[in-house]
């Protein structure tokens, strides 16, 4: 159990409930936690000048890392993209480490060597993304091949956006995965914009999933704003990969409810698209359904919100108290130090 998971008493109570109620609670909790941490970073800390460098958030896309990530077993390896923060919480990273990461402090996962979502930890089986989109795709295929090489039933989960599927690494990686029958699940968050470039200028086919059959990879399309739908689809994909049947692609249709980054007002996005998609917010939808189906009460939800909010202040204070890295260490750790 990671620290983030142990954080909330509302969640702890879920262990006694039905699997459906436990999923309902976990899914809501991780989506809300991601939303709150990103809101604090983008709407408060960034504007207060406390964040170094760029901020890229997954507002409106939380159902994808949460629905998919809840299938990950400890021995599975995750390759998050830059709008998948919930994966880190699911693996036990604490929000304070994320705040410290964004502030360039030693308390962050990269100890100030890299920023924002560029973070990983092999003790948690999370591989850090690099800025070149889709570079992680072939890397995840190799990791999946290694998991099979070692005789495990573990798999790799690779996350990417629609824009990443234009890069050669994506195509080389999918092809290698298919030829090798590598146990990897590809999860696409198709949020319809790559920075300012809309999908129709990114690709001429209608869906990212349309590309998969060309490589001999099964694929399906789901509503990326429905955490249960994502969870079910990725569950099928993960089972397929674990059974040794090879890679599987799940395309999650969603929408980027922000600019590319905090400095981008996204004036190029037609306003009606934001209006349309704000009515499909994954958190609101799931909260209403979970309450309606009796997995949670309104009181449970209120308590969850309060606890997350309360935790944020302490986490931010911890991050701000975390020291900056020492310039004397600038040239260390380029190579293995013995």
């Amino acid at each position: 159990m990671g620290t983030a998971q142990a954080m909330l008493s509302t969640r702890d109570r879920a262990s006694a409930a039905t699997p459906q109620a436990e999923f309902a609670r976990n899914a809501l909790y991780y989506m809300k936690l991601m939303r709150e941490v990103e809101d604090r970073i983008e709407r408060k800390l960034y504007r207060q000048g406390k964040i170094l460098g760029g901020v890229y958030v997954g507002r409106g896309q939380e159902a994808i890392p949460v629905g998919a990530g809840l299938h990950a077993e400890p021995g599975d390896v995750l390759f998050p993209s830059h709008r998948d923060m919930a994966l880190y919480f699911i693996r036990g990273v604490h929000p304070r480490q994320i705040f410290a990461q964004y502030m360039g402090r030693t308390g962050g996962l990269t100890r100030g060597r890299d920023g924002n979502m560029h973070m990983g930890d092999m003790k948690l089986n999370i591989v850090a993304i690099i800025s070149a989109m889709a570079a992680s795709v072939p890397v995840s295929v190799g990791a999946a091949m290694a998991l099979r090489y070692k005789g495990t039933r573990n798999i790799a989960f690779n996350f990417f956006g629609d824009g990443a599927t234009s890069r050669g690494d994506w195509h080389e990686g999918l092809n290698l995965a298919a030829v090798q029958k590598a146990p990897v699940v590809f999860v696409c968050n198709n949020n319809q914009y790559a920075y300012s470039t809309p999908l129709e200028k990114q690709m001429a086919c209608a869906n990212v999933a349309d590309r998969a059959p060309g490589y001999g990879i099964p694929a399906e399309i789901v509503d990326g704003n429905d955490v249960a739908a994502v969870h079910e689809a990725v569950g099928r994909a993960a089972a397929h990969a674990r059974e040794g049947l090879g890679p599987y692609l799940v395309e999650c249709k969603t929408f980027r409810m922000t600019g590319h980054s905090a400095h981008d007002a996204a004036d190029y996005v037609p306003k009606q698209l934001f209006d349309e998609w704000s009515g499909r917010d994954p958190i609101e939808r799931w909260q209403n359904r979970a309450v309606a189906e009796g997995h949670l009460t309104r009181d449970d939800v209120r308590q969850m919100d309060e606890e997350i909010r309360r935790e944020m202040d302490a986490a931010i204070a911890w991050a701000e108290a975390s020291p900056y890295p020492d310039p004397a260490d600038l040239t260390r750790n380029v190579y293995e130090e013995r």
Partner: protein
């Protein structure tokens, strides 16, 4: 035991595969075919498909997959069929592999083997020496063996190293060099140069196939009364400053020789280091002999004019000796 440079690499790979079940090979045509140059001949039959993986023609995927496997604790050795194709995997090498440890403390113990070098009429895309593209990237180690003994010892050291290592093996040496190599399990340390010939009057710093050009030139210079010391770098990143500087202090004159093109090459870096740290010991300018700044040409007279040779080394060495 007598072995060619090629056999030495093959034996090194074979021994490491026997020693460590986490070592595996991947690349184009390395399995059934045994590699374009037959370096991995017989290995598929002996080690099986799990450990000798034929891949699609996709260098970025080959290196990316090697990185991913290494993060999970394996020790992949990836082959680029020709070093000229390594640029297709450039991003994976310089942005993914090289930076993992510094950014987030992740070890990437991969080896990328890349047959390099000219002299076989391979033309612009089968003859290049791209090592300097990678010496400029912190986080990578770059090895260029010249002898069969070193080729075996360095491939074994590279496989055991916990950082990414680029292993540029000169294809012109594959079958040309045959020598006695030890039969026991030895490694040659990465980052350590060798004094290939001792001398008093000037130093030729070189690596890879140019070692033999330097030694031939030294032989002729000796008859002219000039005693040349020849240093074989063996590794071009990190550079063995100590061995170079010890020689500079002795001879006070240095010529750097490499087959790769001149501008931005390893020679410029070595010249700078000597100028900065041993200026007082110098009795003449640090000189360079390298290929001219052109693509590697195809036709025989052009390629002969392109590749550094004994005459060009002698011309510079004589001028240097006269200082």
């Amino acid at each position: 035991m007598q072995a060619t440079y090629l056999e030495a690499i093959r034996r090194g790979l074979w021994e490491e595969m026997e020693r460590d079940p986490n070592v595996f090979l991947l690349g184009e045509d390395i399995g059934v075919y045994g590699g374009a140059f037959k370096v991995t001949a017989g290995m598929l039959a002996h080690f099986g498909e799990k450990r000798v993986v034929d891949t699609p023609i996709a260098e970025s995927a080959i290196v990316g997959a090697a990185i991913g496997a290494s993060l999970m604790g394996l020790r992949p050795v990836a082959e680029m069929q020709f070093s000229d194709f390594i640029t297709c995997a450039y991003d994976q090498i310089v942005n993914f592999a090289a930076k993992c440890r510094y950014r987030w403390d992740a070890s990437v113990p991969i080896v990328i083997r890349a047959p390099s070098g000219g002299g076989i009429h391979g033309g612009p895309f089968h003859s290049q020496n791209p090592e300097a593209l990678f010496t400029h990237t912190p986080g990578l180690k770059v090895v260029c063996p010249a002898t069969a003994r070193d080729a075996k010892g360095l491939i074994k050291a590279a496989i055991r190293d916990n950082d990414p290592v680029l292993f540029f093996e000169h294809k012109g040496l594959y079958r040309r060099i045959k020598e006695d190599i030890p039969e026991d399990d030895y490694t040659v340390p990465i980052g350590k140069a060798a004094v290939a010939r001792e001398g008093r009057d000037l130093t030729i710093v070189t690596y890879g196939a140019m070692l033999y050009v330097a030694l031939d030139a030294a032989e002729i210079l000796d008859k002219e009364g000039v005693s040349a010391e020849v240093i074989d770098l063996r590794t071009v990143q990190p550079i063995d400053d100590e061995t170079i500087l010890a020689s500079v202090r002795k001879t006070s004159k240095v010529l750097v020789l490499h087959e790769a093109t001149l501008t931005g090459g390893v020679g410029g870096e070595i010249a700078s280091r000597i100028a900065e740290t041993a200026f007082d010991h110098l009795d003449g300018p640090v000189m360079r002999v390298a290929a001219p700044d052109t693509p590697v040409p195809f036709s025989a007279p052009l390629e002969e004019a392109f590749l550094p040779n004994v005459d060009r080394v002698l011309e510079k060495a004589r001028a240097l000796a006269a200082y």
